[in-house]
Symmetry: C2
Subunit: 122 residues, 2 copies
């Protein structure tokens, strides 16, 4: 009961496009998974967990290239834990900055709306 999900089921479970999964595989973010007798990909719970985390990292703004580097570290083992920690910390910092930028833009939109609500044209 290890490899149980087709790519379609996997994509649905994670909330990601089938093409994106294949794309990540091509880019090396993902080991080439097992195939059934018809050459169809099969995903285990473990694969799905990792894909889920890929989605999470992408949502934080980490690039595919960076995720790949991170994945290489994961594969190397526990010795890379400090470096991985640093990578995630960096990403956390970038994410905080992005949120801050978005918040500033929110204020700008609110100011614009205020003017529009007062009937001003600009």
């Amino acid at each position: 009961m290890e490899f149980i999900f087709t790519i379609g089921q996997t994509a649905k479970k994670i909330g990601i496009n089938i093409g994106a999964i294949r794309f990540y595989e091509r880019k090396g973010l993902l080991e080439a998974v097992e195939r059934d007798e018809n050459n169809n990909r099969l995903y285990s719970d473990y694969d799905i967990g990792w894909l889920h985390f890929i989605k999470c990292l992408r949502a934080t703004g980490m690039s595919v290239e960076e995720i790949k580097s991170y994945y290489e570290l994961v594969k190397t083992g526990i010795s890379t834990l400090p470096e991985r920690t640093r990578l995630i910390e960096d990403q956390r910092k970038k994410l905080l900055e992005e949120i801050e930028v978005k918040r500033v833009q929110l204020v700008h939109l609110d100011e614009k709306l205020e003017r529009y609500y007062r009937g001003e044209n600009y």
Copy 2:
């Protein structure tokens, strides 16, 4: 004293790439600006203000295509104020959602870091 800035000065003022400005012009987000006798673009304070707002809208995640539609409405005049208000309101909503997504991802990163700090490999 109306057209005073070269494209380089303008880009610096706004904090945007020269190529991006030309790109926006090509896409119709911007009227083709005045040129000097050597065919170099010249930007007025008004142009710079609008470019600044383009940058702001882009930072909220509004697409170039949508900004173009918005610009068409601006050009049409005061009669489009309700529609423009709706567009900005929609964008505000999307932006709030994006901020929320980022915040959720921040929590995920923090959880990951917590595990890493405890020496766990995953």
